[in-house]
């Protein structure tokens, strides 16, 4: 019964986010709406953490499984890249790692900057 309730709550939040997506006048991903909605419901105590804990932890632990069917079907798409396969991968991977490092160090930079601003504020 417990798991059923928990799955029900999570599915309802998802259904709600799909509904909101349809009502919005602009295009916005339901996945982002869903995260925001669940965070808000938990924050406002509309849903309590213990009401979704076990199923939530199970889903968090096994998130990756939903990407497997997607991966299997893209094998067909590889044919569309004929002739440019190598360049395609180089651009994708190089950009990926560059963005990774830039993002990491940007966060660190802002954290340190704000730390210095807080320290200055405390001194004055």
């Amino acid at each position: 019964m417990k798991v059923l309730k928990q799955i029900g709550i999570i599915f309802l939040v998802c259904l709600l986010s799909e509904g909101i997506k349809m009502l919005l006048p602009f295009s916005f991903p339901s996945s982002v709406i869903a995260i925001l909605l669940l965070t808000a419901f938990l924050g406002l105590r509309i849903i309590k953490e213990k009401q979704i804990k076990e199923t939530g932890d199970f889903l968090l632990e096994n998130m990756g499984i939903v990407f497997v069917p997607l991966n299997v079907t893209i094998v067909e798409q590889l044919k569309l890249l004929e002739g440019q396969l190598v360049q395609f991968f180089i651009v994708a991977i190089a950009s990926l790692f560059l963005s990774f490092f830039v993002t990491y160090f940007t966060v660190r930079f802002v954290q340190i900057l704000m730390g210095k601003m807080d320290a200055r504020r405390e001194r004055s």
């Binding site: 798409q77 950009s95 990491y104």
Partner: protein, 225 residues
């Protein structure tokens, strides 16, 4: 036999069994390169290929698993909620990091595309690669890319990120948990977040939030392209 392959239970079973095996392997080998998503996908592709089972038959059951894409993304809200104090403290570094990361991803893709003389349609399809699939597809259409190629780019980034980011983190001693989460979520969205969660709940939650913020950033940036 054909009826068995086209039975939704087959696709679902194959996915679940290969993923469970992949997780066991990952736990035993303890290296993020043994990424469960990658291993499970390769096992499925191998199984279907060896037995000559059409992908469409597998997909009947695969679609059932795909149905959990939204619930599995939504549940990141739980991870975010658990880390709310850290998020409040590091709000600006996270938001700025996401925006700069998205910008870097888009600009570097365009620049590298020109450098390697990549076909314009392929470049356009690659641009949204760092954001979550739903947003990526919308962006791709906007920019004149091909949906199928974009989905593939998103998956490549996701799986490569999930497999290699933890390695980069170890190699370059990138110790800050919040920064790790932002970097992973911004560049390799949900698939990367699965890896982030293995590093820690803070990294996982921040990665989940960053996914969303980076997605919104990409949409805004694309308005100016």
């Amino acid at each position: 036999m054909k009826e068995l392959w086209a039975n939704p239970l087959f696709g679902a079973c194959l996915t679940i069994v290969t993923f469970a095996l992949a997780r066991m392997l990952n736990e035993r080998l303890k290296t993020p390169l043994a990424n469960p998503i990658l291993i499970a996908s390769l096992l499925c592709i191998g199984f279907l290929g060896i037995l000559g089972i059409p992908v469409e038959d597998y997909q009947v059951g695969g679609a059932f698993i795909e149905m959990f894409l939204l619930p599995v993304t939504a549940i990141l809200g739980l991870a975010v909620y658990r880390q709310r104090e850290i998020l409040k403290r590091d709000f600006f570094p996270v938001v700025i990091g996401c925006f700069v990361g998205s910008l870097t991803s888009i600009v570097s893709t365009m620049a590298l595309g020109k450098l390697f003389r990549l076909d314009e349609v392929l470049t356009a399809s690659l641009i949204p690669k760092s954001v979550t699939t739903a947003i990526a597809i919308d962006l791709s259409e906007q920019l004149g890319g091909l949906k199928g190629i974009t989905i593939m780019s998103v998956i490549i980034c996701g799986v490569c990120g999930a497999a290699f980011h933890p390695l980069l983190i170890k190699l370059f001693k990138l110790d800050n948990k919040v920064a790790r989460g932002v970097a992973i979520g911004t560049t390799s969205h949900s698939a990367g977040t699965t890896s982030a969660l293995q590093l820690g709940e803070i990294e996982g939650a921040i990665s989940g939030v960053s996914m969303g913020i980076a997605g919104i950033s990409a949409v805004i940036i694309a308005l100016f392209l």
